[in-house]
Amino acid sequence: MSAGAPPPPTPSTSSATTSPQIGADEWVRRAGERLVDRTPQLVLLLVFVVLVALIPVITSNEYIVRVATDTMLYVLLATGLNVAVGWAGLLDLGYIAFYGFAAYLFAELSSGHYGIHWATWITVPLVVVGTIMLGFVLALPSRRVSGDYLAIVTLFFGQIFVTLTTQGYRWDWFGFGGVHDITGGPTGLTQVDPFRVFGHQLTQARDYLWVALAGFAVIAIGLSAANHSRTGRAWRALRDDPLAAEVMGIPVNRLMMFAVAAGAGVAGFAGAVNGAYYQGVFPTSFAFPTLITVYAMVILGGAGSLPGVVLGAIVVNVLLEVLRTPEHARWVFYVAVLAGLIAKVRPWRMLGAVLGGLVAFGLVVNAIVGAVWPRGTAGPLYAGGADFTTHGWFATAVRHWLVLPKNTYELPNYTIGNYAFVILIALVLTLTVVRGWKRYVLLVPTLWLAAFVWENRLVEEAPTTRPLFLGVILIVLMATRPQGLLGTPRVEVV
């Protein structure tokens, strides 16, 4: 039976009066639109391309340019994954194999491994076409299985790619013709040729930033056109209801394969750039964690929205990069907590009460611990380097507010941090079940303990804390905005 859908949005009268030029019908039509929807996508793309292209011009900082280039690779990957996942609604977990396949194919054709050094203008199209072909082959299961089952089958493709490349240095063709080293094994293929364009070797990060950006511009225009064509409509139709789509004359099986193959083509281009940019390919670059990162980008940005997934890729990769060093990670932590409070705690009086309570709570705990157990407040702020978060008013404030035990052999900080972490998880879980004013009261010690765990435990291992941080952000976003940053809320029929 058909399920109930939420009632259509009703315009509020106050907003309607502010723009007398447009009639009620027009108002209803525009009600759901945001700035990013109203701006033509071509304008958005142009602004994006200009801004990114200028990065190496504005800064000579090699690190920033490298991060921008890595981010552009992720932007490409997210754009490709969005075709299958966002538009056609196929949960394809084998996507990362396309990226890896393309990078390896490029490396085989342009390195000393086989002594092949083909020109860039031959290898790149060849790699893209080859990956599209692989896309069609790996999309075959979508004819028979769908949803979760397709995810399981395609996950296998991703895993077997890593296994094949890791073990591929002792390929024996079932005993015929001896053992061959095809993939270089766990150490991968190195000394891959850089791109050569019009006689120039592209060796710098900024060259690859521009190459990836130019490729992205072409791909974005092409995919956007496809999305607004009969093919794109058919993808969205089969995402909503494959059976109805089939009965309305849409060859569903063929279109699902097109979606996977189109995404594979984008991953193919990204893979070729990857091989040339890093001048080497390694099995671990194309393993499950990379896939999860790309999925996080698509989901966080809003599956189905091209500007959304680009934004998602930028946010996630820049965030992961910032979290590498403790000083930057510390900023992200405190700003994220504060932003979350400002966004979620209403009214303002309550926000003030929570913040005031938080400060008071910390000062009191600090005073009590300092009196009872002097060593408990004698520890320093952990620092990877010196800046004003470790030597300045901020550090002084934190030292008088938090409890930072002095690290000793009998009771190291990380042991205390581990216990506190467990208590913190228990507190967060309790937060989800209490309601009303009790929740706000409980919020104060929870936030303080979060800061305690952060300063005593997590910040010391900021690089390994990154997935944890990303996970927390995803959970919070999915709870508050399930459609992602720029996505459109979807209605599912039960």
């Binding site: 064509s229 009969r230 209801d241 089939e246």
Partner: protein
């Protein structure tokens, strides 16, 4: 009324497990005819639609559209040959806009490939204009109901009756020769039911469609049908004009049971 019927089912049978759902059913629909299929719940009416559109494959028998056997074709191939249906349970593309729902159904009537669309080839642009025009024309068939700002609203924001109308518009956009309507008046109020009765008549008279309709509302059936076919347990128990079928003792028995027949 010249020659062979537009749609003809010959000794069509299907069973699920051991249950025979359709048993050697013969049915024909002539060009520009409106035929109603009635019968109690579970009689196999919707199954007939699923067989015709290729969703189910029959165990035996033939389905002929203008003489061509459709058995074994994929559903989208059958649709492209000229059969479109609506669903009793409403299966719109809820997250697409009203206009997009109708435009999506033009897929089988256009040819441009994904590459042509990406590169804005002349054929892709020409077809895109045609798709827009066709969608607007089909939606205009329903008067003001699906016009104006509604074009750009998601389908989930439509009322129940408008969803039924949109399903019909979407089916029309596949440019069929025969429309299969599965309970078009289900869940509608008396005014809307009256409206849909008129609409089905207009679909034939103005739209030129041949129509096979499943309907429970006997006022609708009486108002539109050239011919009525009654099914029970997958077997045709009566066929003819509405008056003849409605008074047929076997039909009354199928709906009300034997005891009712005797007391009447």
């Amino acid at each position: 009324m010249s020659g062979a019927p537009l749609l003809e089912l010959r000794k069509l049978s299907v069973s699920f497990g051991g249950l025979v759902v359709i048993d050697e059913l013969d049915l024909h629909v002539d060009e520009r005819e409106i035929v109603s299929v009635i019968g109690p719940n579970g009689a196999g009416k919707t199954t007939v639609f699923n067989l015709i559109t290729g969703t189910y494959r029959p165990d035996g028998g033939e389905i002929l559209l203008a003489g061509e056997n459709l058995v074994g074709l994929r559903p989208h191939e059958i649709t492209t040959r000229g059969i479109a249906r609506t669903f009793q349970t409403l299966r719109l593309f809820l997250n697409m806009t009203v206009k997009e729902n109708v435009m999506a159904a033009q897929y089988g009537r256009t040819r441009s490939t994904i590459l042509e669309s990406m590169l804005h080839f002349p054929r892709a642009r020409r077809e895109e204009r045609k798709i827009h025009a066709a969608a607007e024309e089909k939606l205009a068939f329903f008067g003001e109901r699906l016009m104006g700002y509604r074009w750009n609203q998601p389908a989930y924001s439509l009322s129940y009756a408008n969803r039924r109308r949109l399903e019909i518009a979407r089916a029309m956009a596949t440019e069929p020769r025969i429309l299969l309507l599965d309970e078009p008046a289900a869940g509608m109020n008396p005014v809307e039911t009256h409206e849909i009765t008129e609409l089905i008549g207009r679909l034939r008279d103005d739209g030129g469609y041949t129509i096979l309709v499943i309907e429970h509302d006997m006022h609708v059936v009486e108002g539109i049908s050239d011919r009525v076919v009654a099914l029970d347990h997958g077997v045709k128990i009566a066929e003819g004009s509405f008056e003849a079928v409605a008074t047929d003792p076997r039909v009354v028995e199928a709906y009300l049971g034997t005891a009712a027949t005797t007391t009447k």
